[in-house]
Symmetry: C4
Subunit: 208 residues, 4 copies
Amino acid sequence: MDRTRLEAFSDGVFAVAITLLALDLTVAGPEGHGSLADQLHVKWPAFLAYLISFFMIGIIWVNHHALVRSIIKVDRTLLFLNLVLLLFVVLIPFSTATVADYFSRHDWGTQVAMMLYGGVFLGMSAGFGTMFEWTLHGQRVYQPLPPERHWPARVRFVGGGGVYVAAILIALFSDVASFVLIAAVAVYYIFERTPASAAPDDGEQPAP
Amino acid sequence: MDRTRLEAFSDGVFAVAITLLALDLTVAGPEGHGSLADQLHVKWPAFLAYLISFFMIGIIWVNHHALVRSIIKVDRTLLFLNLVLLLFVVLIPFSTATVADYFSRHDWGTQVAMMLYGGVFLGMSAGFGTMFEWTLHGQRVYQPLPPERHWPARVRFVGGGGVYVAAILIALFSDVASFVLIAAVAVYYIFERTPASAAPDDGEQPAP
Amino acid sequence: MDRTRLEAFSDGVFAVAITLLALDLTVAGPEGHGSLADQLHVKWPAFLAYLISFFMIGIIWVNHHALVRSIIKVDRTLLFLNLVLLLFVVLIPFSTATVADYFSRHDWGTQVAMMLYGGVFLGMSAGFGTMFEWTLHGQRVYQPLPPERHWPARVRFVGGGGVYVAAILIALFSDVASFVLIAAVAVYYIFERTPASAAPDDGEQPAP
Amino acid sequence: MDRTRLEAFSDGVFAVAITLLALDLTVAGPEGHGSLADQLHVKWPAFLAYLISFFMIGIIWVNHHALVRSIIKVDRTLLFLNLVLLLFVVLIPFSTATVADYFSRHDWGTQVAMMLYGGVFLGMSAGFGTMFEWTLHGQRVYQPLPPERHWPARVRFVGGGGVYVAAILIALFSDVASFVLIAAVAVYYIFERTPASAAPDDGEQPAP
């Protein structure tokens, strides 16, 4: 089983999920409260959450791309690990819409929404980490990572997931701090070029 | 007519359908009844139904993939059989949303919803079985199944469909039992490796 | 400019449009009027319209596939003709939902809805006919239709479009008769194998 | 990293966005105000906005296609520039729906909606211009534009963006004039064949 359809199906899911993000961007229209300028102004958390989630899906797509192209042979296990990753990707429009709805309230609902938001990213990160772990065993990738680099790579993945755990815990105290932390992760991944991601042609696996 | 566009179109439909599943995952928001935690808690049947339907679509995608790649030549009949399969795949978000809406009531509506849910999976199973039957005739696949294995394979397909028939009938008596049976099918297909699916490179057709 | 991305983009639009058809299939849920069985029963025009539109999109996809693979070189004109075709394909979920909403009333609204439904299919047919006309000129396809067969092919296309014109006119008198006519067209295209479509490997263009 | 998945993902996003445009085309149905004919008549700005946005996305898809196929090697920077372009493409259904909602009012809300509409196209244009700028440096395209043609090409891009800036400013005085200007841009791009786009096989970059 080759990689083509795995990529085609995954790309389709990424593309639909990233486009559905914008479905939450609606205004009540002329019948709603206030002028359009007011309605757009009140929706700013929705635009910000849209922006962050858009780049989060974009980053995981870039990394998914790099991981899959290093794989020699797609088996049934990998297909199901990939489905688990996509399960969380597909939830992102839902968690994003929920954060957008609750953000401006700054009450317990906002904190729960932030925990949901961080939890979905944590699931996505764990799903991608499991796919990465799968590539470390057997003769599954063209240029396997040498064994002495397995643990450093794993630590980096766990570190990435740990930030989401931190964001979930921080949400218990401050929804804004939790949101800032997740936004910082997105910005970090856009600009940071880890050694592995900077040289994907060496056959190394990407950062989380 | 080659397989590429058949796969591309089908992958697109699978990808959109699996992503639209999550469209039903919305909460009423700050204006709704109860806190966000309550709203999410009340929605648990929606999350469970989402999970099961997600893996059902994922499994049929994996099997569709294996079936199509064994085909030598795509003809007009196969294109329409494939459309019949997709007709039911596209209905899955609708049947899933209906089950989610009615699940916590445990009344006649829930039972009808479960019959709809099982019925759509039955249609999908029958559609896939028909495509499989098509591969048994003529010189249509690279490594045809030997004739003595046709009937065992058909029995396995009919058995798979029979489970959905059972789920529909059980729904007349217990919606929960029907739901558990369908969930068990999904779990079974994820973990079971039938001889055929375990060795797709032998050119055999996949299990239902 | 090769055909690959024209096909990929068109397949994406076809796949999304065919899946969005089912978005109109929703029930009001436990809070709505009547039991779920009643709600599903009342929705039967929506299911029928879904079925017809699904196969209409499926048929145009099959024919689009056959047409595009016969093309030697994709130019900017073809890309825009293709966009015009897709413009009408994308409107099908809207016209289908409108017919479904008005069908059981059998009043002037139903007749307008049927005219809209037929009109969108007419536009799709005209768009595909224009792409076909484009293939008749210059050295644009691998095995051009001989000139003496141009007019018979055009007549067949115009005849196909004429059925939709008839359906629109008939809608002024009977919405049911108009709907039956359009449903008959869908059934005809599924089972009819025109000489051209029966032998696509000869490089001929497909039927409308 | 090859261009295939960049194209597949982008095509998916373009296809979903162009199809979601039509989601705003709904009528209130039998329970709404007025007959279906009246409801469709009142919606004419929505149909017009749908038409313009459809071709705007179609045009950017055609140009994106031409640009990407001239690229030798896809790197991480290009992937993120492409994401920025898609960020604005995905916003088009939202801005289109907002214009459609406010168009017939001709008040301050309409003017704000037109500024939003023009602003999203401006962002799309700037995103595409940045991708074009990226191709001018290093050995990134098969047939690089000679240095003496860099500035004329840039001027043409900035000119294209300047029209959107003009449309945004004009919206402060007349929403209709702003809408006409943006519609004129769409018509211009459909019929105008710039030297570069008329001869994409020479490896030149497309017009904005």
